[in-house]
């Protein structure tokens, strides 16, 4: 488990319906628009923060400011109004917006520090750019997948939180504990956990372990798909994202 600083707010709120938050950011109703932004922020702040840290090589505090600043500016200036689902996935559009925003902020900071846009030294920017070009292209490709990977992680992390609350509300804490133990904590460790071991650990039969895990996964899948639907603009984008994320045909 990681300890996060307070960026992103407190307990995450989840959309009660399957209305697309992406669409609702254009809503005329301010409350609806703010709620839609909250949904997007909940899912995207961490991938954006990490992306800014890695791609733009920003320090912790700068990345926090830029992440918060980006969302504030997006809400104020209506960045997302320009999104066209026919042209790209929302995720891709968002990342390009972040790049534009950070680039502008860098430029502004440069103006402040160096006295505007006046050229002081004759530097070989073109040559330097050429030197960087090869690495830059490679880094760009890997940053795409880095952002995607962080987005999936963020989506799943929120879904796990939601699942915990959901199953607790139904008196199925043990289902969640099993899910957490087997599907989250035991993954990627040296430990090879079997259903038999889990059954002993939780004083259940192996069949119960199978069934409890199946229930938790089923709930988790529903939550993930619900979230996904709220984060996509069109049915087509939703289906395509669901296929890419979980391999499911909906």
């Amino acid at each position: 488990m990681s300890i996060d600083t307070s960026i992103g707010g407190g307990k995450t709120k989840f959309p009660a319906t399957r209305l697309s938050a992406v669409i609702l950011t254009h809503s005329a109703d301010e409350k609806e628009r703010t709620r839609a932004f909250s949904t997007l922020i909940a899912t995207y702040w961490k991938p954006i923060y990490k992306y800014v840290r890695i791609k733009w090589r920003k320090g912790n505090e700068d990345a926090k400011d830029l992440t918060q600043g980006f969302f504030a500016k997006a809400l104020e200036k209506g960045y997302f109004d320009a999104y066209d689902p026919a042209k790209a996935r929302f995720r891709t559009f968002l990342r390009l917006c972040v790049d534009g925003y950070v680039a502008n902020e860098n430029k502004a900071a440069g103006r402040i520090k160096r006295g505007g846009e006046a050229t002081i030294l004759s530097l070989d920017f073109e040559g330097a750019e050429q030197e960087l070009l090869g690495d830059h292209a490679a880094a760009e490709a890997s940053m795409d997948s880095f952002f995607d990977q962080e987005w999936v992680r963020s989506l799943f992390t929120l879904a796990v939180e939601h699942l915990a609350a959901d199953l607790a509300g139904k008196g199925k804490q043990k289902h969640f504990e099993l899910f957490l133990r087997y599907d989250i904590q035991a993954q990627g460790t040296e430990e090879t956990l079997t259903y038999d071991q889990l059954a002993r650990e939780f004083s259940l039969s192996v069949t119960d372990v199978t069934n409890y895990l199946a229930v938790a996964r089923r709930e988790f899948r529903t939550i993930v798909l619900d979230q996904l639907q709220s984060l996509t603009a069109t049915e087509e984008e939703f289906r395509s994202e669901a296929k890419a994320l979980l391999g499911v045909d909906l």
Partner: protein
Amino acid sequence: MHNVPTAAVEHLRAVLDAPDLSGTKYRLVHRIATGGMGSVYLVEDTSLDRKVALKIITTPVSSGNLAARLIQEARIVARLEHPGIVPIHDVGTLVDGRVFYTMKYVQGRRLDEYTRQYRSLQNLLRLFQKICEAVAFAHANGVVHRDLKPENIMVGSFGEVLVMDWGVAKVLTESEPPPPASPEQRAGDTTGTQQGTILGTPAYMSPEQARGDLAALSDRTDIYALGAILYFLLTGRAPFDGGSSHEIREKVLREPPPQPRLFDPKIPRPLEAMALKAMAKDPAGRYPGIAQLSSDVVRHLDGQTVSAYRETLLERVDRWVEKNRFLIFLIVAYLLMRVFTFLTMGR
């Protein structure tokens, strides 16, 4: 907050798409393959402590006809107890209402993959003979496969051959479940079986299938596909390829397949003739049964004439020489020895 580590993300992505096996005696191991109609998973049968393959339809239960077809597939295969046909163990329904069946887990390679490594013609013809035997057994039991192709044939680690995927098979004496809702359920085509509906895989599909002429489907439909498989074994390629499914179907209907010897002049003419005879556009022009096709394969392997090809005198002599090479060597050696002896004695 439970920050999900990368390994858990990958694990969850894999298991969330997996069938919910709760309430069954099976435990998921991993997915083996996904086709147009369903997915096949490797699962563990916990009561018998063995691994089996579980096939499940991938679409929701609302398309009940697909479920009916899966059950029909299981029943058809269950009645075909043959070493060349994968045995069915169990049929059931999952908690989400999807139908599944379990079958023997075949460890081996698909025929198309196998042939990339093993190109010995003798070996491939022996495999082909085994395929013929399995399909002939099904025909003897009134079942037509209707989707024979290299991808549906497994070659086991001991050279055993198993004919798989009887999803569009038909019992010639029974009516069938209605076709699926979607017109594109299977490999770009359909599993539907109403008149005018297209069954099978274009590259190995008979003209009557390409036309959707269900009334004309018979055991000779499988003979056409066996001819196409023989063609593949000889040339390493499907008889018709390139372009869209529609274009391939048009070729199946209107064009003769390219002569196999165009791709490799070393292909024996009798084998070329056998493949082309089995693939005749008119079912009446094909082998009347698999026994005749299989017999031709055996005769060719034994160095005899085959029914599909009339040899010239020169070819007959050539084949006789090829078959009796050792005897000819002995005779020539004997004659040379006699000549040598005669010359030596004459001195």
